[in-house]
């Protein structure tokens, strides 16, 4: 999957961010947190899984998704998201200090 297909979809980016933050989660949990419906979430997850960015484990009827640590692209996206969040946090912290 070309990178624009991943990063141009708000839903997919949201899902990836949730998985970076939480680690492992089932579809309903991801859908609830992303504010998407089940079917859309499922579709995005299938696409992300086909591209090798995420993978799932099945426990009976339950599917638990997580980042595919073995895929180098997944690792890169995860790192990007983590440092993005980190920068956001430190910027917010410095804003608070200036406002005081």
């Amino acid at each position: 999957m070309p990178i624009e297909d991943v990063l141009s979809s708000r839903g997919r980016v949201k899902i990836l961010r949730i998985l970076v933050e939480i680690g492992e989660l089932n579809i309903s949990g991801i859908a609830r947190r992303a504010g998407l419906n089940y079917a859309t979430t499922n579709e995005h997850l299938l696409a992300l899984e086909n591209s090798g960015l995420v993978r799932h484990k099945r426990f009976g009827r339950i599917r638990i998704y997580r980042f595919n640590e073995e895929n180098p692209r997944a690792g890169m996206i995860k790192k990007l998201m983590e440092s993005w969040e980190q920068t956001n946090k430190s910027e917010m912290g410095s804003h608070e200090i200036t406002n005081r």
């Binding site: 680690g23 492992e24 089932n26 309903s28 484990k57 009976g60 009827r61 339950i62 638990i64």
Partner: protein
């Protein structure tokens, strides 16, 4: 004037959940547990174990099991074995196997879905998680009575027989069952009972001397040096020994005595503080029993306590209790629960010994449940509950 310095150095170590680094007077029993579970670090997966720990309240059942859990997982880690110890309280899980399994799975996958699956699916998922991670689990189920009373023999049967359906697979799940009333096991089917009763560890009540050692150790950990006199320690161990060798009671007494000393701005915890503390604690119903109740159980109990404060009668009817509960709900801005749910609460409260129930007999029209409060004065119970509910709101 100098401000008064507290007698405490670190009172958190008197908390009910605090795990002391050394377990006093339970070395033999700890050794038994180590022997029973030797295979877990020497040849994991070759067998599984079920051990029963039986003893009265405050005899160190929970702390023994947790201590063992900590030791064995550390030892396993050193040997590169993926062994986990999970401690669940069946009462907090409302005696439901589903909730016990859910709590266990959440230790492995913190965001595992909480609804929509059957008990059997949960058990299967747990075994799959263990298989995938090549992990072994010692599941300690505290207050097992609740699970047996609520679920009958089935939950334990399923847990003890799980390996029979997994032929040739490594045996990954071992059980530690902790209970106060061994009579409860009579409710199990003969095969489960015999499986469980193979390895029993009985914990005798602590003697006065043993209690003194335990208190001494806690005093060193929690109080500033020289603030607790030997006479106070003696008195507390004597009182706790007379309450069935209850170490938990002794520790609670010690904490309260310290609080009385602080409140009176004393430099030392005197025997008088311990006496005052003893009057304020009702050993049969302790803070943690009440604290583990759900919000509406607490509200219902508060209603009952208030109704008893207003009346000299020994019993109130279920209807009276429901009316009182409705008023409490209004006061706390909660939507009141229905009769069937309240009836469930009455059963739980009665099982934990806080209230006593009996069915009305002759001389009254119809049939109703009569509730009495045999152990605690209503005013004290009301005070304790109000404090807890107030803290929750804050």
């Amino acid at each position: 004037m100098r401000p008064h310095t507290s007698v405490f150095q670190d009172e958190t170590r008197l908390d009910i959940n605090y795990l002391p680094s050394r377990l006093l007077h339970r070395e033999t029993q700890l050794n038994f547990l180590n022997q029973f579970f030797r295979f877990a670090t020497e040849s994991p997966g070759k067998m599984s174990q079920r051990v029963l720990i039986v003893g009265k309240i405050g005899t160190g059942k929970t702390v023994l099991s947790q201590h063992f859990g900590l030791n064995i997982t550390t030892e396993a880690q050193k040997r590169g074995i993926n062994l986990h110890y999970v401690h669940v309280n069946c009462r907090e899980c409302k005696g439901s196997l589903f909730m016990i399994l859910q709590q266990t799975i959440l230790k492995f996958i913190p965001h595992f879905p909480k609804r929509g699956y059957s008990e059997a699916e949960m058990l299967q998922a747990l075994m799959q998680i263990l298989d995938e991670r090549n992990a072994y689990l010692i599941l300690a189920m505290d207050e097992l009575e609740t699970l047996i009373r609520n679920g009958g023999p089935d939950p334990l049967y399923k847990l003890t027989r799980i390996h029979e359906t997994r032929l040739k697979a490594p045996q990954r799940l071992s059980l530690i069952c902790i209970l106060r009333e061994p009579e409860c096991l009579e409710m199990l089917d003969p095969s489960t009972k015999s499986t469980l009763q193979r390895n029993i560890i009985h914990l005798e009540e602590y003697s006065k001397i043993q209690l003194r050692d335990i208190i001494n150790a806690r005093v060193t950990l929690t109080f500033r040096q020289g603030t607790v006199s030997a006479q106070t320690i003696d008195l507390i161990s004597e009182l706790a020994a007379s309450e069935g060798g209850n170490a938990r009671y002794a520790i609670e007494l010690l904490w309260r005595a310290g609080k009385y000393a602080d409140a009176s701005e004393l430099l030392e915890v005197s025997p008088e503080c311990a006496r005052k503390a003893a009057v304020s604690i009702y050993p049969v119903i302790q803070k943690d029993t009440i604290a583990s109740l759900g919000l509406h159980e607490k509200l219902f109990l508060l209603g009952v306590a208030r109704r008893f404060k207003q009346t000299d009668a020994a019993y109130i009817t279920m209807g009276d209790a429901e009316d009182a509960y409705a008023v409490v709900c209004e006061e706390h801005g909660e939507r009141k629960r229905g009769h069937t749910q309240l009836w469930e609460y009455v059963k739980t409260l009665s099982a934990s010994g806080i209230i006593k129930t009996e069915i009305s007999s002759l001389g009254q029209r119809g049939k109703t449940t009569l509730i009495s409060l045999p152990m605690v004065p209503a005013s004290d119970l009301e005070q304790e509950l109000s404090k807890m509910l107030h803290m929750k709101k804050e």
